[in-house]
């Protein structure tokens, strides 16, 4: 990759993780609202450790669960991921052992949960869970289809997030400081009017100094 291209890619990647994370957060917020549920969360599969990681949480557990992880061999989320089959379970708390296991992947013991695999092309990226929808009506297949649509959106967001992280990791490991340069470019890009003009002048001056320095000044 040429330096120019690498710089352009770095500029494109900079800040994108935060953007995709917001998209993912927005997906779980909307899923929670649409189903009138107590909580909703997205797990990303970490293939290196074979664990599921909380990437976005809306509602119950939103402050504490993000970043927590558990083995992909565990419970309903693990089963959904491996089998690629969505599942809806009611009265989870009937069995203490099952309730405890579920709580490890939800942060609390829900009455019921819906879990759907996040699939993008042939990849199983993670799982979307919606906890404690209102129990007043019997679950319908229309809701299942809706869950599938949300899962599709969440899978796309999760795939973008994964790619952004990979790109950042590659750039960071091959060009020392590329991340800082990209961040700087993104910051200047966000400035307006006089501050932007001043920022660009400063960068031009900095570039000149550094170039001369490199030439053995």
């Amino acid at each position: 990759m040429s330096d120019d291209l690498r710089a352009a890619v770095a500029a494109g990647v900079a800040g994108s993780e935060a953007g995709y994370r917001s998209l993912l957060q927005s997906t779980v917020e909307v899923a929670r609202a649409i189903f009138g549920a107590k909580a909703s969360s997205v797990f990303l599969l970490d293939e290196e450790t074979d664990e599921l990681v909380f990437e976005a949480v809306a509602g119950e557990g939103a402050d504490t669960l993000v970043g927590q992880r558990f083995p992909s061999s565990q419970g309903v989320a693990g089963w959904v991921l491996v089998t690629r089959q969505p599942i809806v379970i009611e009265n989870v708390n009937e069995d203490p052992r099952f309730a405890k296991e579920v709580a490890e992947s939800t942060g609390y013991v829900p009455q019921g949960l819906m879990a759907v695999p996040l699939l993008h092309e042939e990849q199983a990226l993670g799982v979307l869970e919606v906890l404690d929808r209102p129990q007043r009506t019997q679950f319908s297949l229309v809701e299942m289809d809706l869950l599938g649509l949300f899962a599709n959106q969440a899978a796309i967001a999760l795939d973008l997030l994964r790619r952004a992280r990979k790109a950042e990791a590659v750039l960071g490991s091959t060009v020392e400081g590329a991340g800082i340069v990209a961040q700087l470019a993104a910051t200047v890009e966000s400035l307006e009017d006089e501050r932007r003009v001043a920022g660009l002048k400063l960068l031009a001056a900095l570039e000149e100094v550094l170039r001369h320095d490199e030439g053995g000044y």
Partner: protein, 274 residues
């Protein structure tokens, strides 16, 4: 050349077609009464390829055999006796549904889930291969894979099962991705309907999904002797496996093609469930 090793695709010249006798006395009209009336599933083996089965659960009863599949150091599948039962609850749920329809069938558990995501595809293939080799009458697969690398071998295995008279009943997918093996025509693919009658099933005139069976708000067996209510194609699938077990118990000579024909003819939307 002896009769036994004659290639299956040739019909000796001059042999009148009426001498190809069907081992089944085929009725003028196939009804549910003809198909599985009085049947209990006795003598039919149903393999639950899943997360294991909790034997002794009141909705499951006896499990004839239980094995677990893992990978050795070289990544080759190893089949061992399963002493842990169900690690998740899902296999027990499927077994309970089959038992509720076919109370006297033999249930065999092949645990291919529960060891995590890594290696799960190879474990699934190893388990399915073993199950096909055992010649079980019905294999219930409430699962699928999206990995293209497994599609070819899965196709070979499902075809092998079909020609060995093992009926593979697989959950369809209601998401916009390619997944296997439910899409292969050699399996019976199942999605859900919302009715609560376990014997209501519909033939789908718009495949790839072939049948819709009960899959919404089903009370199922779960780990620890409990029962929970579940929704998903995973639970529709064992309903069709149960019906298959009933039919094969009464008509063990049916090929998978004939069995599928009987399912079609006895579907609620074809014969009004009569």
């Amino acid at each position: 050349m002896s009769q036994d090793i004659r290639p299956a695709w040739s019909l000796p010249a001059g042999k009148p077609a009426d001498r190809i006798v069907l081992p089944v006395e085929w009725p003028v009209q196939v009804t549910r009464e003809w198909a599985w009336g009085e049947s209990t599933g006795k003598g039919v083996s149903v393999c639950i390829l899943d997360s294991g089965v909790d034997a002794g659960h009141e909705l499951v009863g006896e499990v004839s055999k239980a094995v677990a599949v893992s990978l050795d150091a070289d990544g080759q599948p190893v089949i061992e006796e399963d002493t842990e039962g169900d690690l998740c609850g899902h296999g027990t749920a499927c077994a309970g549904v089959v038992r509720s329809l076919a109370p006297e069938c033999d249930i065999v558990s092949v645990r291919v889930l529960g060891a995590g995501f890594t290696g799960s595809g190879d474990i699934l293939l190893g388990g399915l291969k073993w199950a096909v080799e055992q010649g079980f009458d019905v294999i219930n697969m409430s699962l699928s894979t999206t990995k293209r690398q497994f599609a070819g071998i899965l196709h070979e295995l499902t075809d092998a099962a079909y020609f060995r008279r093992t009926v593979l009943v697989a959950s369809a997918h209601n998401m916009p991705v390619e997944s296997y093996p439910w899409k292969f025509s050699s399996v019976i693919s199942v999605a859900s309907h919302e009715d609560s009658d376990p014997f209501t099933f519909f033939y789908n005139p718009d495949p790839p999904v072939e049948f819709f069976a009960r899959g919404v708000d089903v009370e199922v067996a779960w780990v620890g002797g409990s029962k929970i209510r579940c929704t998903g194609n995973s639970f529709a699938t064992p309903h069709m496996s149960g019906v298959c077990a009933l039919i094969l118990s009464k008509h063990p000579e049916l090929t998978p093609f004939q069995l599928k024909s009987v399912l079609h003819l006895t579907s609620t939307n074809v014969a009004g469930g009569e």
